[in-house]
């Protein structure tokens, strides 16, 4: 097993940190469900909201590539395209409301 087991009383506490993230909702538009299900595999959705004001289409493209190429996100090319369209449209500095 890749991860080291530290002591017999090891308890994964990730759930404690996640409490509260269930209140986060992305904008209801085509692409939302795919974006949510792929992204929450690793992190809460507030990362998207937090960066929206800083991002444009190029920025999101770079970010999605990093998630797939460097962090191993299981996202196909078609899915990446759909997620990019959604984020560029709704979570960019020039976003449509």
């Amino acid at each position: 097993m890749r991860r080291l087991v530290v002591g017999v009383l090891l308890v994964i506490a990730a759930a404690a940190a996640a409490a509260g993230e269930e209140t986060i909702e992305l904008k209801n538009a085509p692409g939302r469900e795919l974006t949510e299900t792929r992204c929450v595999l690793c992190h809460s959705l507030d990362y998207i909201q937090m960066n929206a004001a800083v991002m444009d289409r190029t920025g999101w493209d770079r970010s999605i590539r990093k998630m797939i190429d460097r962090f191993g996100a299981p996202v196909t090319l078609d899915e990446a395209r759909e997620i990019l369209d959604y984020l560029a449209k709704h979570y960019s500095a020039e976003a449509t409301p």
Binding site: V6, G7, L10, A17, H43
Partner: protein
Amino acid sequence: MIARRRLLLGSAGLLLNTALGTTGRACPSDAASHATDALVALPGKRPLIRRTFRPPNFETPLSELRQPFTANDAFFVRYHLALIPQIDPQAWRLRVAGESARRPLELSLEDLRRDFERVDVTAICQCSGNRRGMFSPRVPGVQWGHGAMGNARWTGVRLRDVLDRCGIRAGALEVVFDGADSALLPSTPDYVKSLPDERALDENTLIAFEMNGEPLPHWNGAPARLVVPGWTATYWIKHLTDIRIEPRPFDGFWMKDAYRVPADVFPGARFASQETSGTTPITEILVSSLVTSHRPGERIERGRPTQITGWAWDGGSGIAAVEISTDGKRTWRNAELGPHLGRFAWRGFRWPLDTSRTGPIEVAIRARSRSGALQPDRLTANPSGYHHNCVQSLTLEVV
């Protein structure tokens, strides 16, 4: 492809510097922003400013940065990876090994406490990206305000003493550190960092198990973490479990591709074995300061006696002076400095404010370190938004 991208990033950094003068844009005056930041309490913490839930990134509100030692339950929380185990301190073991290790060790917390000299160092823990949210131009990443930092007394043992017990072979180049936290996906690189041999052997580098006299809080790395005074917190590996002494540069993602700045742009210690032609790892904390007594836009009653107070710090040479301006940076005076808490700690300053006339007061503060560094007026642009240490200005209103 990766090498070229890094070179491009490096060139872009230099281009930005040349196009905009020696550094970037003028440090923007603090707006009364972050006023609507959500305060959320993690278990064991008082309400902090939530940047992200998972992995948790929470910063300390300004009101909690006023004490000389930042309270443990107010200390900021920063993680890259979301699997954060609760570790039983009695079951915890620290492994010391690696190709350049003579006698690999496995130590318990009791071993550390009993067999090694107990050492205290008071030091600023500051995220490399502290204040990134205030960067201009803005950059992606965790949009920190002022609160991804704190001052604490760290207690533990010297890393050097543990490495000496293990024995270091000739040719050792770097020491690699890994903690028990990990990613949800096996394909995501684990958060592993390295230090140059010399920094690892510095007498101030600790394996710490206490913070301000109490056992480390869970969210700040229980039961033991690395503490590297003067260097940014990216190296301060939490939930430390593995130390490896190695004869070659560590090439994990979080060293090779993350936490890098354009080469030859920032001052401070060089991490020679990790340098490329374009980038180098971030190392030392740069001289900086923070007003904690007042918020931007705050209103003060005319005639009320009040002081501007706050902190100044750097990467370990100490603070020589804090200059304050109350006329929009036209003239500067030396503020009164508080007691010395240690060269890696912050140092307090105060200045009595003249509130005799109604109207705005444009306050600015800048710190000067003993090594001669002065906070810059302008930010140095870099792709990751590190080293935000430009002169803070804020406008107060006497009413």
